[in-house]
Subunit: 207 residues, 2 copies
């Protein structure tokens, strides 16, 4: 597989999501022009993005929806069955653990860590074992490369530990700033920043 640009990478989950909906609606085949209206991405961009994975379509016909879904699902890691951990079982952490149409879509949250595991384990809504954060090293699942960070503070310290334990990717819900160690990557999920961007854009639009 050739080099896939960051921009393209960000669009793959968008395609997958749209294709799943189309499939649910009983649609079996689709053309780039049609899909374009659906996802708001130009047909040419779609075709180029797809072509980076392989020859997925048939000229004069289009793409087979279910075939695309299974290819994207595989490419996006659904078949890796990635083992993940979650750190910080507060309100947001709990919401994520409970998020249901989730399991095995991108992997599985194996266990969680918190500073008050006794309390967290008593909450009926938390459906994976919660260990004390000091047990990070001993309880870390084998081959775990992804950690979801939902703690209010002290991120840097934890991130450094995770790095030493072989974690490669962080999904960051923390609003705190931290320096990313060499070789790690992260994705920020920041509701406040997202809203700020949007407010800014909406306001500059109407000026």
């Amino acid at each position: 597989m050739g080099e896939i640009s960051k921009a393209t990478l960000r669009r793959y989950p968008v395609y997958l999501k749209a294709l799943r909906k189309l499939s649910d609606e009983g649609i079996r085949k689709i053309m780039s022009a049609e899909l374009s209206q659906y996802v708001d991405i130009k047909p040419t961009t779609i075709r180029r993005d797809f072509s980076l994975i392989g020859q997925l379509g048939k000229q004069g016909y289009g793409y087979d929806v279910d075939e695309l879904i299974s290819i994207f699902a595989r490419e996006l890691g659904e078949d890796y069955d990635e083992k993940m951990i979650l750190i910080g079982v507060g309100r947001l952490g709990t919401a994520i653990l409970n998020y249901n149409n989730w399991n095995h879509v991108a992997g599985e949250i194996v266990c969680a860590f918190d500073i008050i595991p006794e309390k967290r384990n008593k909450e009926p809504k938390v459906n994976v074992p919660v260990y004390h954060i000091s047990q990070l090293k001993e309880k870390m699942p084998k081959g775990c490369e992804i950690a979801i960070l939902c703690i209010p503070s002290g991120a840097q310290e934890i991130v450094n530990q995770l790095h030493d334990l072989g974690v490669k990717g962080i999904v960051n819900f923390t609003r705190e700033h931290f320096v990313l160690p060499e070789g790690m990557m992260k994705r920020d999920v920041d509701v406040v920043s997202t809203i700020q961007e949007l407010v800014f854009e909406v306001n500059s639009m109407s000026r």
Copy 2:
């Protein structure tokens, strides 16, 4: 104010976040090179981004942290005190409503809508009035331009209604796909897609 690119726009909240932390640590002045290490964005990019707002720095000196914060806060809409609504008071919706270091950072969530408002209003954690979704039109706050969408399905219908009521921006937590009406903008906050991207990137890194 000149045209500010989308890429730059996405970085403004990052700067603001970092600057707030620096200010908390008692740091009064900063140079682009220093800030760069902090936010992992090249100094030149920082300077260019800043220069689009105005002449914020002093040559041979740097930038005044608190001055930058107040400028960014204003530019990012904190002073707009944007009125927002939230739709879908499930687990995630509740987590967002409760998210505390939130209020007046990008505006205020005035009220929420759900299909079972009676139940939601009884939950002690929900701190704004919850109305039935059918009352959207009558209960919509004046001048509300931003809606936060946390419903599991039926997004398209709601989005169309919001559009008719003058909403310009959607913060979308829905995994469902919908077509964005003309003149609206949205930002997706999708944990699953985010993880998928990350898994994909981590895996293609090690291959």
